[in-house]
């Protein structure tokens, strides 16, 4: 049953991922990506990582998708379909994707689980979905599942305190970076006459005269 659910979600996720790269329309591609994020959240649920699943929906479907949409609205060629993603950027894009894939595969392959490093098949079998097995660490696991936010918080504040503050620093850096980026896009100073683009807004609303 669990395997069936996994296959279903993974299949849907794969379809969404394919849609993302094959769609000609940027907004649709971003929407497929959001659907893919949602599928990942569903996978987290089947792994009993409920908190993570909810965070995935909140951050990726709720926030990053909006950021993507606003980013698309910033580009010149938002007009649907005409956004051409093919051509010169196809090969570098493929290369970058391949690199990410290799890094991820390497990382997953070398991941060390609580029960030590094992082959992939062992790792796949470990987080069994039935509560009956794994008696040795059952109590800890039950607590982690029932009270995941609190366990995560305790870990943040003790074991990963430094990482936590670094995350804060990273977020601040992101915010400052965005601000600088916006300032870079420097507008004409108030003394200069506005350039043509602004006095003649491209698609002015239908003239009433």
């Amino acid at each position: 049953m669990a395997r069936l659910v996994f296959l279903l979600i993974a299949g849907l996720g794969l379809l969404a991922a394919l849609g993302t790269i094959l769609s000609r329309d940027l907004v649709r591609a971003a929407l497929y990506l959001a659907a893919f994020f949602f599928c990942v959240a569903c996978l987290f649920v089947t792994l009993e990582a409920e908190f993570l699943a909810v965070v995935q929906v909140l951050i990726y479907v709720g926030a990053v998708a909006i950021l993507l949409m606003f980013g698309i609205m910033l580009t010149r060629d938002a007009a649907g379909g005409s956004a051409d993603l093919s051509g010169a950027w196809r090969v570098p894009g493929l290369l970058a994707g391949l690199c990410v894939f290799v890094v991820l595969a390497f990382g997953i392959h070398n991941a060390v689980s609580p029960s030590g490093k094992g082959p992939w098949s062992g790792i796949v079998a470990r987080p069994a979905l039935e509560p009956s097995d794994g008696v040795a660490w059952k109590a800890e696991r039950v607590r982690a599942i029932d009270d995941m936010p609190r366990v995560v918080g305790e870990q943040f504040m003790t074991r990963y305190a430094l990482t936590f503050e670094l995350a804060g620093l990273l977020l601040t850096a992101a915010l400052v970076g965005a601000v600088v980026l916006v300032r870079e896009d420097s507008p004409p100073t108030p003394d200069e006459p506005a350039d043509a683009a602004s006095t003649e807004p491209e698609p002015a609303v239908a003239a009433t005269r």
Binding site: L58, G62, I66, P201
Partner: protein, 438 residues
């Protein structure tokens, strides 16, 4: 769905078993609750709003269909169904259909974790509150898609405004729930409810009062209620993101919006107003539970009645605000979220920790500690509100008086704004001259 009182006072098990019992309860929730009762409540909220708005404006409101116009929602539904569904020729058809569905799904999903009474909540996942916020954050995506797929300038402007407003007010709304989580020590809404049975309603702690105020304001903005109804400012941009929606598709947006109002009222009641508890500092009806079914039904009846009464009061307050206040200007709107509410929320979180140390940490409410907590955090909350407002006034006064007034700034620089293009130019041009002046 364990109906017997467990070891805990109110909280039900976070875990459920897939038994026939569960299946029947879930089926009842889905069919009776989500398909039957909740849309019904929403339909009559619309009727109530029209009645209330009528009274505020010295009219009688709907009174033709049935006694007191009580059948009006049914008539409206029939009208929506038999109206033609118009999709603009250039619209993105699939997304045009998907958008209202997404918004409605988001509103539906967020009702799944609301504890209406003891045991009367569909599910109680351990991260319930975060779940609630996560699923309600899907609706901006639907709204954006609605505006974008319509391929209408007003729709798109309305959608961009709506999404910018929704995401801006989501931050203070979320931050305002942190004190509640901190005091209850859990993200489960049932546990938060139970905490208030022991320590009094959250709104009666000064940081909780501030959080309640922020949550209510941000909540009104989240559901596009006046005075935050810029996304659908009909005098400026027709109807905003649902300009191109007709008939039942518009009806879905309408339903989702009022469902959102209902959700906000329910969540506020649970988080700050003690859920269904009739008395602020007493676990009154819940201590009657002794395991017998009759007692249980009695307690739940009391809780549910009080809960719905509080929700009704909150909803009426929102209608009152709508009848009273004019619409905010778009820049003031964003400023208010980021420059007033967010800093206040951050301060409030620290004050909430202080309240926790004084009152909650010792484990029982005692009059002495409670008074001390009220005085100390009360003064600090008052001071921080004054401080944030003072800083903002000072900073605003430092600039020219009309610095944030686009039309005046533009006119001074000799750019003509014709009446037709004015709105558009202000919204879309990235190099609008007044942008960085002063």
């Amino acid at each position: 769905m364990d109906l017997s009182p467990g070891s805990a006072l109110i909280a039900q098990a976070h875990r459920v078993d897939l038994t026939w019992n569960t299946a029947i309860v879930w089926a009842l929730w889905l069919v009776v609750g989500f398909v039957g009762i909740f849309p019904g409540i929403v339909a009559y909220m619309v009727w109530l709003e029209r009645k209330a708005a009528g009274r505020f404006q010295d009219r009688v409101g709907p009174n033709r269909v049935g006694p007191f116009g009580l059948l009006q929602p049914i008539a409206d539904a029939v009208k929506l169904i038999v109206k033609e569904n118009i999709v603009p020729r250039h619209a993105d058809g699939l997304l045009h259909l998907l958008a209202p569905v997404l918004v409605l799904v988001s509103a539906f999903l967020s009702l799944a974790v609301v504890p209406f009474a003891v045991g009367l909540m569909p599910i109680d996942p351990p991260s319930g509150l975060l779940y609630l916020i996560a699923v309600s954050s899907i609706s901006p995506l639907g709204i954006f898609l609605a505006g974008w797929s319509s391929r209408n300038k007003y729709s798109l402007i309305g959608a961009m405004r709506a999404v910018a407003q929704l995401v801006s007010y989501e931050i203070p709304q979320v931050l305002a729930t942190i004190p509640v989580v901190l005091w209850a020590g859990s993200l489960s809404l049932a546990t938060i409810f139970e905490h208030q049975a022991r320590f009094g309603w959250n709104v009666f702690a000064p940081p909780g009062l501030l959080a309640f105020a922020i949550f209510a304001i941000a909540g009104a903005a989240e559901v596009n209620r006046a005075p935050f109804d810029i996304p659908e400012a009909e005098s400026e941009i027709i109807a905003g993101y649902h300009t191109e929606y007709a008939g039942m598709r518009f009806g879905l947006f309408f339903l989702a919006e009022y469902l959102g109002v209902f959700v906000i009222a329910c969540v506020t009641t649970v988080l700050f107003l003690g859920g269904g508890m009739p008395l602020p500092f007493s676990p009154f009806p819940t201590n009657l539970i002794d395991g017998s079914i009759r007692r249980y039904v009695l307690v739940d009846a009391i809780l549910l009645a009080v809960f719905l009464f509080k929700v009704l009061l909150f909803v009426l307050a929102m209608y009152w605000v709508r009848a009273t206040l004019p619409r905010l200007r778009v820049d003031r709107l964003m400023n208010f979220a980021w420059k007033y509410l967010v800093p206040l929320c951050l301060l409030d979180i620290l004050l909430a920790a202080l309240w926790f140390e004084i009152v909650v940490r010792p484990g029982r409410v005692s009059a002495g500690r409670w008074t001390a907590g009220m005085v100390v955090t009360g003064l600090l909350v008052w001071a921080s509100v004054r401080f944030v407002f003072w800083v903002n006034r000072k900073l605003a006064a430092a600039g020219p008086i009309d610095a944030d007034w686009p039309v005046v700034g533009a006119a001074r620089e000799g750019v003509e704004t014709d009446e037709g293009g004015g709105i558009i130019a202000r919204e879309v041009g990235t190099t609008w001259p007044g942008l960085y002046s002063s």
